[in-house]
């Protein structure tokens, strides 16, 4: 497990495209998600950063270049999927640390006021990331990459739009109106969806032609 995580980290750092993304993504979000509440900005950054890096490592191993090598090593398909699902928490930690440092520097430099660490938001972020991953991971296993990418785009945009909407309308926004996103029910839903998604992914991946 540790080896797979180490590999993800190394790949993240070694790939030029990934590095550029990491560098410019946060400023990009700062501009687009003009939020009434700096907490929301932080939330958006953490969620999308964790989900995108998780997805990138997932794709690389499951369907991308790494799939033949990884699946030829002595590891079962189920375990690969399990590690991928478990590793999103690792990616969350990286997001929190990375975003924290980046935003802290921005704060220090006085460019704009941003929240660089917010426990409340972190706890809200975790179930949201889990929910997004629950949809995206099986999609990538089941569908061919192009279709999966479309689904990914839709989910990502949907989330961003939701955040922008929330930021703009605050209490009156669409999201606040759906009670389901309040409190503990969100966490339970996330856990259930996550586990179901894990099982589904395991079954699908075992049958998949690489």
């Amino acid at each position: 497990m540790l080896a797979v995580l180490k590999k993800d980290l190394i790949l993240l750092i070694s790939n030029k495209r990934e590095l550029i993304f990491m560098l410019f993504y946060i400023p990009f979000l700062i501009f687009t998600v003009d939020s009434y509440d700096p907490k929301m900005l932080y939330f958006t950054i953490i969620v999308t950063f964790a989900y995108l890096t998780s997805l990138s490592s997932f794709y690389h191993d499951i369907d991308g270049k790494g799939k033949y090598i990884l699946n030829s090593l002595p590891i079962t398909a189920r375990r690969i999927v399990l590690y991928k699902y478990a590793s999103i928490f690792f990616h969350l930690v990286i997001s929190i640390v990375y975003a924290g440092i980046y935003l802290w520097i921005i704060n220090l430099a006085g460019i704009t006021i941003v929240d660089y660490f917010n426990i409340e938001m972190i706890f809200k972020a975790i179930p949201i990331v889990m929910l997004i991953i629950s949809i995206i991971f099986p999609a990538y296993i089941l569908f061919e990459p192009r279709i999966a990418q479309i689904i990914n785009m839709l989910v990502f945009l949907g989330f961003l739009i939701g955040m922008v909407n929330l930021g703009a309308l605050g209490e009156k926004s669409f999201i606040k109106m759906i009670g389901i996103f309040q409190g503990n029910s969100l966490t339970y839903l996330a856990i259930i969806m996550y586990l179901l998604s894990l099982l589904l992914s395991m079954v699908l991946y075992q049958k998949k032609d690489l």
Binding site: K6, K65, I69
Partner: protein, 284 residues
């Protein structure tokens, strides 16, 4: 264990290609060459053995065990060498080694370092910077550093110069000194196999044409050359593959005695190379 690799009635169907009930077996201690033209199904077969593609029917046994039920323990003992496009280009050799080593129960760092120096590879270099040949040597080093008993190679020498290919063959000869290990080696460069292979399995268009000891194959086939006057419809049918020109004909046969009897000294009979056999069988 009687056979180190056993493929029985293996089936796989794609939209426009079918692997049609292929079967062959390999005993420990021998090298099997897997030949066929491009698109014949060589890579597909190897991917099915490694469970990268999921079979539609049939049975595959490695080390006497079902390749799906015992997938993890089997893969622990297999060293694989694929087309080099599948590597993690952004990593260094050391980083790649660290990742791979943690998966194998019998990883041997000493062996790996020995191969690194034998192949003149710098462990700190990024995989992306390696030439084709070096990438291949690197993957061979990995495949040979965890006490694997079966080495599976998918077109490992294509794109490499003959000097290089000869070096690889030398390494393979060393491996096979251990009579418990076997090598399964797919290629369309038949000259590599002419020397080293013990067995040859020839696949064409998703079907096995033959799977036999190389010596027997080279003994059974021959190239017959003669003048155009010797050809008529009945003789033409006796060839497996035939090429006619204004000046004569050249054909492949597996029935040498027939030609010797019927034409004796009027034809020139030569040994057929694996390449001849492949080309004539495919072209007809």
């Amino acid at each position: 264990m009687k056979y180190i690799l056993e493929v029985n009635q293996l089936k796989k169907e794609f939209k426009d290609f079918k692997l049609d009930s292929i079967s062959f077996k390999l005993e420990p201690g021998y090298i099997m060459g897997f030949i066929g033209p491009n698109g014949a199904g060589k890579s597909t077969t190897i991917k099915l053995i490694m469970n990268l593609l999921k079979k539609d029917g049939g049975e595959i046994k490695v080390f006497g065990k079902d390749h799906i039920k015992h997938e993890k323990e089997i893969k622990d003992r297999i060293g694989f060498v694929y087309d080099q496009n599948y590597y993690y280009e952004d990593l260094t050799i050391n980083q790649m080694r660290n990742i791979v080593a943690s998966f194998y129960s019998k990883w041997d760092d000493k062996q790996f370092n020995h191969y690194m120096s034998q192949f003149n590879l710098n462990p700190k270099s990024k995989i992306r910077t390696l030439s084709k040949g070096m990438k291949m040597k690197f993957s061979l080093a990995i495949a040979l550093s965890h006490h694997a008993d079966l080495i599976i190679m998918d077109e490992p020498t294509s794109g490499l110069d003959p000097v290089f290919r000869r070096e690889i063959l030398d390494i393979l000869y060393d491996i096979i000194q251990d009579e418990n290990k076997s090598i399964f080696f797919s290629t369309h460069i038949t000259t590599d196999l002419e020397k080293i292979a013990d067995y040859i399995t020839f696949i064409n268009d998703g079907k096995i044409v033959f799977s036999q000891s190389k010596d027997k194959i080279l003994e059974s086939y021959a190239i017959v050359k003669g003048g155009p006057e010797l050809l008529d419809d009945s003789t033409r049918k006796k060839f497996l593959g035939l090429r006619e020109t204004k000046f004569g004909f050249e054909g492949l046969t597996d029935d040498l005695d027939l030609f010797k009897r019927n034409f004796g000294d009027r034809v020139l009979i030569e040994r057929a190379s694996l390449e001849d056999i492949m080309v004539y069988s495919v072209r007809g």
